[in-house]
């Protein structure tokens, strides 16, 4: 027994220690999604750079996916020590800003300027300006990262429900066959119903008044991206680097809007109280869904960005067969049933409008590690995704909205319309939204402050103790702010501050 155990231990130690090979001639890429793989970017690099006779002949490419929840905890220590760290890694905007501040990123601007095949100024002008601005390091004014995509958001809604509720109002578009009907409705709804937080609450009430089982939004989270209320809202931080009183005052409108929508039971609520990403939430995209009491509800609108249209809305919308009947798929379909279902077309009853303010959600940036030993290869990889406009145009059909203006112009010119949106051109709306996004008032605290403040918005809407009035809610928030972000806390001059 003893000898066996001893032997085992020695073997274990030997085998496990033997595992430490040094990486040589290997380009390591880390990401929190599988986009780079599914879009074929990794394969493209392998095929065009690492084959026999090519620039990096024999180079290995290692792609590692770390899910979003663990991504930072994985990347951070690796970047700090440099041990086992990736050469190229992706990140969402707030991560990129942290990477920049810590000084982990290579100077992309310098690398671009050194690239003889690249016209720097022309390239810069061809990028959607918010993408470029967002990745400029405030420290030295240099560009440190870039994204190939833009991810502006919209409010997607069912046009048939909108017509039923608001069809009699003045100016509501009448039916037309020119393929612009959904666009016209979207424009009207954007201008008259979705244009301010107050109007969103009014619209929610109108939908519910029309039919007590109808709701505008699945839940009040749907308006969280509109907390700023308009495109010229203040920044979270004032000029002196402390929290802004103006911004907090603007938040009052948002808090009242959320409280206006909220009701403890669905019957009292102007929304359907469905959790985001739950089965019912997805179900509502199709037709309707049932609550615990057996009541059936329908929702009209979902707040989602570019990728939401392709990955969330499109796969779940109501489909109809040639005769206009709704198609449905049983839980365990036969091959025939599956085929019939696949042959159905989207009903085309969705429109997309813009909310009170423009917003973006998600968006993947490419970063090169400052101390990478594979910087040339890393740059070539990034370059193949960002600067090869021909390649971008060619694969644009997968639906992504690119950050290159020339690419999108070309794509839009040839686009025949989105069947889910009844032939509407979603690129147009998305790009219009993208142009409205400005980085003048963005700070690195935005996501955290939105989260922190959001907790008190929730407490206020429910009337919880410590947040029964606006004054209480604000002061509870100030207390937490003082411990959490002491460096931006302001002693006096904030709304309701005691």
């Amino acid at each position: 027994m003893k000898k066996v155990l001893l032997f085992l231990s020695v073997v274990v130690l030997a085998v496990s220690l033997a595992g430490c090979g040094k990486k040589e001639n290997k380009l390591v890429i880390w990401s929190f999604t599988d986009e780079l793989e599914t879009q074929g970017d990794i394969q493209y690099f392998k095929d065009n750079f690492t084959q026999e006779g090519q620039k990096y002949e024999g180079m290995e490419v290692e792609f590692v996916i770390v899910p979003t929840d663990d991504y930072l905890s994985k990347v951070m220590p690796a970047l700090r020590t440099g041990d086992g760290a990736p050469d190229v890694f992706t990140g969402e905007l707030d991560m990129v800003q942290n990477f920049m501040e810590a000084g982990y990123l290579a100077n992309l601007e310098e690398l671009m300027k050194a690239d003889e095949d690249l016209d720097f100024t022309a390239t810069k002008n061809d990028f959607q300006s918010y993408i470029w601005e967002s990745a400029v390091d405030p420290e030295d004014g240099n560009l440190k990262a870039l994204s190939w995509q833009v991810t502006p958001g919209a409010i997607f809604f069912k046009t048939d429900m909108a017509t039923a509720v608001w069809g009699d109002e003045t100016g509501f578009p009448t039916e037309s066959d020119d393929g612009n009907y959904n666009q016209n409705i979207s424009d009207w709804v954007s201008a008259n119903k979705f244009n301010s937080l107050d109007n969103l609450v009014v619209a929610s009430q109108e939908v519910k008044d029309y039919d007590s089982s109808w709701r505008l939004f699945p839940n009040d989270d749907a308006i969280r991206f509109f907390s700023r209320g308009s495109d010229d809202a203040s920044s979270w931080l004032a000029a002196d680097g402390k929290i802004s009183a103006d911004r907090l005052e603007e938040q009052e409108i948002y808090m009242e809007a959320v409280k206006g929508l909220y009701g403890e039971s669905i019957a009292d609520s102007l929304t359907a109280n469905i959790g985001e990403w739950s089965g019912e939430w997805f179900g509502g995209i199709g037709e309707n869904f049932e609550d615990a009491e057996g009541n059936t509800y329908q929702t009209m609108a979902y707040t989602l960005p570019t990728w939401g249209l392709f990955y969330v809305i499109a796969p779940n919308v109501e489909k109809v067969d040639a005769s206009g009947e709704t198609c449905s798929l049983p839980e365990n379909p036969t091959d025939q049933e599956q085929e019939d279902f696949d042959n159905c077309d989207p009903k085309g009853n969705w429109g997309m409008g813009s909310g009170p303010n423009s917003y973006y959600w998600g968006g993947t940036y490419l970063n090169i590690r400052k101390d990478s030993e594979m910087k040339d290869a890393a740059y070539d990889f990034v370059s193949s995704m960002l600067f090869d406009t021909e390649r971008m145009t060619a694969r644009a059909e997968n639906g992504d909205v690119y950050s290159r203006i020339s690419v999108m112009n070309e794509v839009m010119a040839e686009y025949e319309g989105n069947p889910v949106l009844g032939g509407m051109n979603h690129y147009q709306t998305f790009l219009a939204e993208a142009e409205k996004i400005s980085f003048d008032n963005v700070t690195k605290y935005d996501r955290q402050l939105d989260n922190l403040f959001g907790q008190y918005v929730t407490a206020y809407k429910k009337g919880e103790s410590g947040a029964e009035t606006l004054a209480e809610a604000f002061n509870s928030f100030y207390n937490e702010l003082e411990t959490t972000y002491n460096e931006i806390y302001r002693e006096s001059g904030l709304p309701y501050q005691e």
Binding site: D34, D83, G84, G283, V312, P315
Partner: protein, 310 residues
């Protein structure tokens, strides 16, 4: 053939034997006592079966969802009836993850961890329980106290330190710490107090046995049910260890099963089709149940069996 016949005959006799046996008991203890016993047995088993049902829920759900389509799971997450997507889910899962490699990496690491932890924890616990040395109490208190420090932030420094001693991206960094499994040492030290009779050790010494021999031939076997119990828990913890493996391992070829399955979570398929995910979960639970059954042999089955041994 005769054997088979015999067996069948026995099977036939069994119900009658049972009835006879019950009748016997009934006569022996009288009607009242008999009724009481039946009622008690029935209510005990009823209670236990309810508990079994409640405990089985997630397991059955995972199993059922592993056979259902993503669409069906999305629309109705909880179902106790199977679907027809078992093979399809398995195919999709294989597309996104390297299950085989993950399985063997996990198996290697978890087995090594379990063996090291079992042996060295027993050794340490034995050392603490049997020998009276000066620092004994202080060192034992020291490790128990260290167990109380929340470890959620520990990995911050851990990676840096592993980098210093060159263990980043090695399996060793996940296996060697098993030698110092504080929880198991604590348990076995407590367990030894109930099972190892110091007089037995004393008499072995009289017979000229040395200490190492005593540990291997007396201490270890006496602690075996405790060691087996802890080994089950150690194996499960190591098998499910996600964060530790995540922090240390960088190369996909070393990824354990939980890391391989996490690939799915980083993929678009996560939003569209959860069937393969449950299939992955099912595959990761299965070996644990097997381990459980294997180690159960060393656990003591009933109080009576234990008494004989003790």
């Amino acid at each position: 053939m005769a054997k088979v016949n015999n067996f069948i005959q026995q099977l036939k006799d069994k119900p009658q034997q049972l009835i006879r046996h019950i009748k016997n008991r009934k006569e022996k203890m009288g009607n009242k006592e008999f009724t009481k016993r039946v009622v008690v047995y029935m209510s005990l088993y009823f209670g236990l079966i309810v508990l079994v049902a409640v405990s089985m829920v997630p397991f059955v759900m995972v199993l059922m969802n592993a056979t259902r389509s993503g669409q069906a799971i999305q629309e109705n997450g909880l179902s106790l009836s199977p679907g027809g997507y078992f093979v399809e889910n398995w195919e999709t899962l294989k597309l996104f993850t390297n299950i085989t490699s993950g399985f063997f990496n996990s198996l290697f690491i978890s087995t090594s961890v379990t063996v090291l932890s079992a042996y060295f924890s027993a050794l340490t616990a034995f050392g603490f329980y049997i020998y009276k040395f000066k620092a004994n109490k202080y060192l034992f208190a020291f490790i128990v106290i260290f167990m109380m420090v929340p470890v959620q932030l520990a990995f911050l420094g851990f990676y840096e330190f592993m980098s210093v001693i060159g263990l980043v991206d090695t399996r060793a960094a996940l296996i060697i710490p098993a030698v110092a499994n504080v929880g198991t040492v604590f348990f076995l030290r407590q367990y030894a107090a109930g099972t190892i009779n110091k007089e037995v050790i004393e008499s072995a010494r009289m017979d000229g046995a040395n200490e190492i021999y005593i540990f291997h031939r007396i201490g270890f076997p006496l602690m075996m049910p405790g060691i087996a119990t802890m080994s089950i828990f150690t194996f499960i913890a190591s098998w499910n260890n996600y964060l530790g493996a995540r922090v240390i391992l960088n190369s996909p070829e070393k990824f354990t099963l939980p890391l391989q399955l996490a690939n799915l979570k980083g993929s678009q398929v996560w939003y569209e089709n959860q069937g393969p995910l449950y299939m992955g979960l099912f595959i990761s639970i299965f070996p644990i149940v097997i381990t459980f059954i294997i180690f159960s042999r060393y656990l003591v089955d009933s109080i009576a069996a234990g008494a004989v041994k003790g």
